[in-house]
Structure formats: C-alpha cells, structure tokens
Subunit: 258 residues, 2 copies
C-alpha cells in the first residue's frame, strides 16, 4: 500500500474491508552481532518509532492476518510467529494522533470519526527471524526502519513500549519450554553462536560446556563434519538443528534450565 490513492481509500473506507477497533502489532526479533534486535519502523513526519502492524480483514482468520502482515513488512514467510497478549487497557490508545496532525503530515483529509481514530485494541504477536533474510518494506506511513537493540528500544508510539516489554518477557519464559534458534540463526551455526544467542535472550551467562552438553543430550542439534573459518583462531565446527526433534520439542515442550 504505497500510492496516495490506495492509502486514501484505505483511510476513508478501510472499515469496509478490515475489522475496526482491532489491530495487530508485531514484535520482530532478530539476532545480529551477538545482540537481540527488534525491528521498528519510523513514521513519516511524526518522527516517532513504532512496531510493524496492520489490521485484520473481515473474512480473514486471525492467524492468517498476522502472517500476512508480517509477510508484507518483511517479505518472509517461513518463521516462528506467536500471539502473546492483547493490549487495550488505555481506552484512548490512538487518541494521541490528532486527526489534524494526521492531515497535515500525510495530506489525507480525515474526519474526527474516522475509523482509524477510534479506540483500538492491539493483539501482540512476536516473531523470530534471521535478520539477513529479512527484506524490510516500508509503506506510505513509514519511511525508515531500523533494527534496535532489544534492551535499548526508544520511546514508541502509543503503548507499544509495553508491548515490547511483554514480548521480551514471553520470549524469555518460552525459552524454558520450547527450543528457540531455528528462526534466529543461519541454517548452519557454531556452538559459540547458539550459546551466545541463549545468553543474549536470557540476559545471563551460561556455562558453555554444560550448555552444549544439554543441547546435545536433548538431541536438538547435530554436529556436522564441516568447520567455519574465523580467522586467526581455532575453527569451530558447524552444527544444524535436528528438524524432527526440534519440531517435536516445539509441540511437546521441554523442561530445562540451560
């Protein structure tokens, strides 16, 4: 949705195609330079950062909507995506953007009763993805994107900081019950890489020997007969996830401590 006509139609008549009062916000986690990152979009004119998001089509299953929105923003579809919370405790969530400001910034005439300015609950989803595979798409309302350090997210629009906080908490809790990494790491990775990933997500040190022992004992990863060259040091072996075991662990859950 990029042309003025498309956008104008969406603003004026979107409520015919989309459910009003409900939006989807996506917290997209990536992993880069040993840092957990979150993808944010910059609102044109507003000079503020926000989460990628969108609305649900009237005849579209909720989960499909989330996938579609994510696909639109990242051009990715093979990913881990999970609903985690509904936010709607501040009844005037959207009130901050005044209609006048909206008109000035975007050149779109909107009335005070425009559907986009009504109260909107937001369903939070979080996604994990290998950031190098992501091809971020901005749209009419946004003109920039950036991967922000998860522990250093700027002030966001509306109550989205709360959304990010909750996503992080959920991710950290989840890591104790489900394997995580398949969508955040390249297909082949080294022990130090996955080790650092877990340390990063959990925000604490994990004994490297015990960690890999555990991972191997669970049968989640498999050692390959290849090594990566990392310059002036011993070459680490490459590993890959055991797809079947991984899927099984996703479904059935695991109990561990790392």
């Amino acid at each position: 949705m990029n042309s003025f006509e498309e956008v104008n139609y969406f603003v004026q008549n979107g409520h015919q195609d989309y459910l009003p009062h409900i939006s989807i916000d996506c917290v997209i986690f990536g992993y880069q330079q040993q840092q957990l990152k979150i993808l944010l979009l910059k609102w044109k004119g507003l000079n503020g950062w926000g989460l990628p998001g969108g609305f649900i089509k009237r005849r579209e299953p909720l989960s499909e909507a989330a996938y579609r929105i994510l696909q639109e923003k990242t051009s990715l579809n093979d990913l881990f995506l999970q609903q985690f919370h509904v936010f709607g405790d501040s009844p005037y969530r959207v009130g901050e953007r005044s209609t006048r400001e909206f008109t000035e910034k975007f050149g779109l005439e909107v009335q005070a009763d425009n559907w986009l300015f009504e109260r909107t609950l937001s369903i939070g989803y979080f996604a994990l993805m290998d950031h190098v595979k992501v091809n971020v798409q901005t749209d009419f309302f946004t003109d920039d994107y950036q991967w922000w350090d998860a522990s250093d997210v700027p002030q966001l629009l509306f109550d989205q900081n709360e959304v990010v906080e909750k996503a992080l908490l959920t991710l950290r809790l989840q890591i104790y019950h489900q394997p995580i990494g398949y969508n955040l790491l390249p297909e082949k990775f080294t022990l130090p890489e996955i080790h650092t990933l877990y340390e990063t997500i959990l925000g604490k040190e994990l004994d490297q020997r015990n960690f890999s022992k555990k991972l191997m004992a669970l049968g989640l990863i498999q050692k390959l007969n290849e090594q990566r060259s990392i310059g002036a040091h011993r070459s680490p072996f490459l590993y890959q996830f055991e797809k079947e075991k991984y899927e099984q662990a996703l479904k059935e859950g695991i109990v561990h401590t790392y």
Copy 2:
C-alpha cells in the same frame, strides 16, 4: 441485564456503548469434590451450553471489562483472572446463530446486519475460584448454569470447546511457574486437599510426601494449630497460604516440578 427493554436496547443499540467485533469469553475453573470444574451457562431456547462472556465498553480498559463481566456472572471480585489467548480463526464465528432463529427464540427483532451477528473475535480469560463463594447470575439469554467436569465438557457453541482446551493447557503450564490454589481452595485447607487439587489439575499422581515437602520448602503454606474433623479417621491439620510468599511467587514465578 434481564428486562426485555434493557435487552432490546442492547441488541439494537449496543454497538454505541460496546466495541463491536470483540468479545470476552471466560473459562471459570472451580474445584469441587476433588474434581476440576468449569462453569457453563445454558442458552435459553438454543439448548446449548456456552461460556460466560460479554463485550467491552467503549471507554473501558480491557482488564476492567473482564473483571466486570466476571463480577456480573459470579458476584465475585477477589479472584485470579488472566487473559490467555485470542480466538478468531473462524471468520464466521457467530454465523451459526441465524438472525431468524434468534428472533424466534428470544422475541427480539434483529436485522441481518445487527452488530451481534457480525464477525467477532473472542479474547479468552480464565479465572480460578472457590465454587462455594460463587453466586451464579443468569441473564436474559441464559436460564441455567452448571459446573461441568473439566474433562467432560459438552459440545459448546461456536468454537468455545477450543477455548476451554486452551485454557486447560494454559492452566497446566502455568502451574509450573506460579502458585495456584489460593483462589480454588477455602482459606484453610488440609494437605490432602491441596495435594488432590494439584493432581487433578495436572492429571497425574504426585507423591504425597514429596509434594508437601516441596510446598513447605517453598514457604508457600503454613501449618495451623487446628485440625479438621473428617469422621472416622485421623484428623488432618489445617494449613493456609503464606500471603506474602504467595504474592511474591505469583510475581516472580517459581521453577518446580511437584
């Protein structure tokens, strides 16, 4: 909401006061005769059972809406209540009730475009309560209620069986991270009682000695200097929760296995 006038106003004009397209469904767990129970309401005329639920007022924070709805149905307000999932994968969730049938059963004239018959997502909450404290209120649409065995819930309206399933799963997962029992047991309870409660929720046997050892070690419960008389057998001692420890565990979480 019980009089015909009130209800008619709600049906015809409710969208002015409530957010359309979004409802709240409550899975209310109780504990009775060593069984985990779920509170269901019987729809008048429809001869079908469903979850207590309601809509969110336009200016009402989401969490307040959930509490209000629960309060309306059970007359209780001191309880454990938690959002757990949004359901909306079948776009025609409400389509099953035809407007004609609705008119016949309830004597309310509704047009096909009535707000209640539009697609509605449902936010699932689950609550835990001591069933003896509950004073169930039926309303215009429902004329009966019953506590059903959690493992033996009848076919419900719409996709509510899925909602119940997910609530149970969430409860079972949660019990590993949070103390549960405060809202399901009377203030003073015996070891065998709480033991059976946990066995019931988890659906498996727990060694009684190890279980109480663990509970005591966590400092969650406190032995009282009173006993309950249970007839022809040894009188069990009464216990109560350590409120502070319990609250703390609720916030910070616990890691255990029981």
